[in-house]
Symmetry: C2
Subunit: 183 residues, 2 copies
């Protein structure tokens, strides 16, 4: 359900073609709700059918290969407003790295895990750096409007998450090295 409303929100910020949306989901929006262009086009179809978005600009042009700009309808805005207040449980976190570590604990096969943790550490470090750059670029000045503050809040969620991961990864590497030495 969230993809639907992520798209509506993004289109509300500014109307776009499918590909433009895809690019937004590659940079900013995708940091908290990633989506491929296939997902996006599929969802756009469904949103059009539901009347929550509509085609803007010349509708005479037939489609395939041609950019199609879409925007949010009144109904779309209304459904978004309704959705904001709906119940949502935090979705269960899944960590394949944790599974790997339990598997390593059960088999005694510790070698491969250390590499896996190192790769995770590198990935999270890179992501953190990306987020920091965005923060420097977009949120450096103290005076933000409400929208800016909220965007910053979302970014800080990513920052906190990455920092937590990095701290844990370092912790994990230390333990794994200690276990390796004392074998």
């Amino acid at each position: 359900m969230s993809l639907r409303f992520a798209i509506i929100t993004s289109l509300l910020e500014r109307e776009a073609t499918g590909l433009e949306l895809t690019r937004r989901f590659d940079r900013s929006f995708g940091y908290f709700w990633p989506a491929s262009h296939q997902q996006i086009y599929r969802e756009l179809r469904s949103l059009l059918d539901a009347g929550l978005i509509e085609e803007k600009g010349d509708p005479a042009r037939p489609g395939r290969g041609q950019p199609r700009v879409v925007g949010v309808t009144e109904e779309g805005v209304a459904s978004l407003r309704r959705w904001i207040g709906e119940l949502d449980e935090p979705r269960p976190e899944r960590s394949s790295l944790a599974v790997r570590i339990r598997a390593a604990a059960a088999t005694g096969e510790l070698g491969g895990v250390e590499d896996a943790v190192r790769r995770h550490l590198a990935a999270h470090t890179a992501t953190l750096e990306t987020y920091r750059e965005i923060e420097r670029r977009d949120f450096a000045d103290r005076l933000l409007d409400a929208e800016g503050e909220l965007h910053h809040l979302v970014l800080r969620s990513g920052l906190a998450n990455e920092q937590a991961w990095i701290g844990w990864c370092e912790d994990a590497l230390e333990l794994l090295q200690r276990l390796r030495r004392s074998e």
Copy 2:
């Protein structure tokens, strides 16, 4: 793919019936890789077909309604060992709460979001408390073997994650209240 190996790992720690496995995924194992009993039975079928697990005990009994104990085969252990070292990219995090906040920022509909954040805060606080109880119960003494240390490491990952969320939620509530007052 991870569910497969989560199940093999759990069965390696001790063989079990489908329902016993389900219970493990409700308590310990499910904290980092949740799974419903439907998912588990489906995967068990596929693991049996692949020869990675096998039925233990009397195979004469026909099944439906009767407990069936399964254990890991040699091949199962081998495939688990192979999997441990395989590449895995950290799977993209998805946060519906972040989407909601962006939606709130775009529409100006801030009321519902504050509730949503409060619910998340409550959920994460409860989970943190659960993890802390497990830590007190299972990892209180300083002298753990390698397996124990690794289990503790996995638990600490959950602890760090929940703490990060809680900190951010409090931050978020503060901001939302400030924005509400200054409207």
